[in-house]
Amino acid sequence: MAISHGLIALNGIMKREFWRFIHQRERFLAALVRPLIWLFVFAAGFRSTLGLAIIPPYETYILYEVYIAVGLIGMIQLFNGMQSSLSMVYDREMGSMKTLLVSPLPRWFLLMAKLLASTSVSILQVYAFLMVAWFYDIQAPCLGYLSVFPALVLTGLMLGALGLLLSTCIKQLENFSGVMNFVIFPMFFMSTALYPLWKIKESSLLLHTLASYNPFSQAVELIRFSLYGQFNLYAFSYTLVSFMVFMSIASWGYKPSSGWKVKK
């Protein structure tokens, strides 16, 4: 594959994702409203009952809203990853996936390009959320808004790759509701998005272990540290390895030899 061909195709796939995004304004609104409800309703309600000790990367006591805001960024990316998985299943059901698969490009490249495109859309949503949160007095250091960008790329890719992997396992659109119950909810609630690990440990050791190994927890921690201008090597490595594992399995699932992935 010539590099110029790859770049043109990547540009085309990104553009298509943005066109679709523009045409589906409800999708953008839903992606923004969901975390904002959590922030304005859930977090505000729990503010007085949940005190948080000083934990890195924070250097002082923080309000619960400040803590949960990062988890909600993760939530935006998690839902976006699952949304792109849903659109892959839809494309496969409707047949438009075939257009992509008969183009003269390696499948790993096509999947990676789709992943980058959906990650870009999720990053736009995250920055829109951060802007609203800023007016709600949830403000990170100015440089944090820049330093969080590469972290958002990696976490977006990791959660998108998980979505791709799931799309290879789901044969029908109707089965997608299972993803909600068995992937999104457990991943979100068994993570550090809502409570820090030490707090989870206080109530359940098993939950603490599950949350520690949950890739979504590490994605949230990577975002949290980056937003405050710090680098969490463990969270970064864990997220990177998770991305590589999910992506490898998803690429295998879309190979022509696994022809069952393409609806006959």
Partner: protein, 246 residues
């Protein structure tokens, strides 16, 4: 225009099974440049599976598929760059405009800027779609959507065009216009076509007919040759004799 001599498509001893069920048995066929090949067969004859193998959507375990002399298994991207496909089901993005769909396809084939714009405009002109280019696909009727799909498949100037029942669901005048347009593409030598259908009235006397039944090729050649061989008057009778179906 004279027809190019090279083989656009060669399928050699191709067999395929879905788990234990064999759906294609030792298929061999070839199309020269500018040929219009009509793949006739009843439902479940194996037409779509054969197309999926030619397009590289499935990996054939036995046999070989060469597009313009390039093996789809060994050099898939090279082979696919010479191939245009129109699937039985519409594969257009309904929420995007005609132009956006065509630009997306051009980008997948490494075409951008002036080259893509000029090729898109040529195909829009050929298919009479200039006036609808900014319309969303969702707003177009079935005939227009089909034409967009054909335009899309031709943008990168493939040497072989695969059409899987492209006239399905269209009204008679639209179908006739499309059949004529596709035959013109072949006679101009622009492209070779392999066209799956079960509608005998879409076949022209000069077409190369391939009758597929239960995963086997029952006959292939020009209409007159097949009819003579089976001692029947027309293709309809030949088709009935070969498949046992109307």
């Amino acid at each position: 225009m004279t027809k190019p001599a090279a083989s656009s498509l060669q399928v050699k001893n191709l067999s395929y099974s879905f788990e234990t069920k064999q759906v294609l048995h030792d298929i061999s066929l070839s199309l020269a440049g500018g040929d219009c090949g009509i793949l006739l067969g009843p439902n479940a004859a194996g037409k779509t599976t054969l197309f999926s193998l030619i397009a590289g959507l499935y990996n054939g375990r036995e046999g070989q598929v060469l597009i313009n002399g390039v093996d789809i298994k060994n050099k898939p991207y090279n082979a696919l760059s010479r191939l245009g496909v129109v699937f039985q089901q519409s594969t257009l993005d309904m929420d995007l405009s005609v132009l956006q769909n065509l630009n997306y396809h051009a980008a997948l084939h490494g075409m951008s800027g002036r080259r893509a714009t000029s090729r898109i405009n040529e195909e829009l002109d050929h298919l009479g779609l200039q006036d609808s280019k900014n319309e969303k696909i969702r707003a177009l009727n079935g005939g227009h959507r089909r034409r967009v799909e054909i335009a899309r498949a031709l943008i990168h100037q493939p040497s072989l065009l695969l059409l899987d029942e492209p006239t399905a669901g269209l009204d008679i005048p639209t179908r006739q216009a499309l059949v004529e347009h596709l035959h013109n593409l072949c006679s101009n030598g622009r492209v070779s076509i392999l066209w799956a259908t079960h509608l005998i009235d879409e076949v022209y006397p000069t077409d190369k007919v391939i009758v597929l039944n239960k995963g086997r090729i029952e006959a292939q050649g020009e209409v007159s040759v097949i009819c003579k061989k089976l001692a029947v008057d027309d293709l309809k009778a030949a088709y009935q004799t070969l498949t046992g179906k109307n």
